[in-house]
Symmetry: C2
Subunit: 203 residues, 2 copies
Amino acid sequence: MTLADHATPAPRPGRRADAERNRAAIIEAAGKVFAEHGGGVDVREIARRSGVGMGTLYRHFPTKDELLATVLERQFDGWLTDAHEQAMATEDPWQALDGFFDRLLTNQAGNRAAVESFAATGGPSAACIQRCYSCIDQLRARCADAGVLRPGVTTDDLFQLSGSLSQAVLTTAESHPGQWRRLLRISLDGLSSRNTGPLPPLA
Amino acid sequence: MTLADHATPAPRPGRRADAERNRAAIIEAAGKVFAEHGGGVDVREIARRSGVGMGTLYRHFPTKDELLATVLERQFDGWLTDAHEQAMATEDPWQALDGFFDRLLTNQAGNRAAVESFAATGGPSAACIQRCYSCIDQLRARCADAGVLRPGVTTDDLFQLSGSLSQAVLTTAESHPGQWRRLLRISLDGLSSRNTGPLPPLA
DNA sequence: CTTGAAGCGGAGCGGCCGCTCCGATTAGTC
DNA sequence: GACTAATCGGAGCGGCCGCTCCGCTTCAAG
């Protein structure tokens, strides 16, 4: 995992064993709590759920934002890696793109904090966005080379699409789980090279 | 306007003139402030911007949530009416649908509070959602009758689409304004009857 | 102009929440 | 077991924000 680099402070090996355990507990609990209630939850709730005092929590993460960022980064990075690996293992370029989106969105289904962070900044962090862009661009290029992608579609378009769909994933999570897949199918069909009409120009 | 019914307390005609003026000022200022900063802003900011004291604000709206609801309802209702009228005046069913979405999304472009409310509850209020559903359903039926709409597409699909795109409208508002139109075009192309593949079933 | 009731303003209360501080505890060493 | 430095825990501080309270102002009826 390359993402441990972003943690603050980084998990040094020379640390006491209980400290290491607590740190892990905090990250796990925070992941669940943020996903359930969004980034606005009381930090005390995270401390409670991880069985740790406030002092301990704040020694590991100097700021609530830092904790949120770390957690989000870990989660998103995991989802991204997973979706990317699956896509790489798929031969058909179009199915790879399809599977990538499906996997990525499935993974973050119901995670309030993740969607909020997309809404606020377009993603968990600049580095994360960059990684995501790279993945998407790779898949886009494969599709474009195979001639199955609608001409003029940019990596940015695909990135925005995933962000916008993650909104749908969240709002339909409780009432109509999985309905977002219909939107994904529709969008992907609109992205196929069957559609040759020009897209609105970038301002 | 049927939406004044939702205000609390309703603007009674027998009220003093200055009270009426203040009420209007509050609604207007709140609309701007909520749009700029989202539903989380300090109520004091709204009082300041409308040139009114806290007491006045809270006599007109017993609760911050009530104020937010009223404002959102007014705004959304206006946008919806506007988009609907424009769509009704368009003969071609497909262009009517296209124009409806374009107009609705353009109108709410950059309104943080509006997008938040979509994220939280799917819309400003149950009544508003109902109205929106009706509009969309009407347009959907016209397209379906004309045979230009992909088979199996539900009103719910179209509603979710608009909610998900409003997310894109917000995130691209500052860096790439108007880029969301590309996503809209893509989605609509995926919704045309040219695409006959079955959509994932509703769970 | 007088009068009384409707309306106004903003200081301030109470609760929530991010973060800190320091005495108690415990892991790890000899 | 003794020792010490790293770690822990949670009471509490300070600031933010929703909302209230009440003395002052203004409208409009007579």
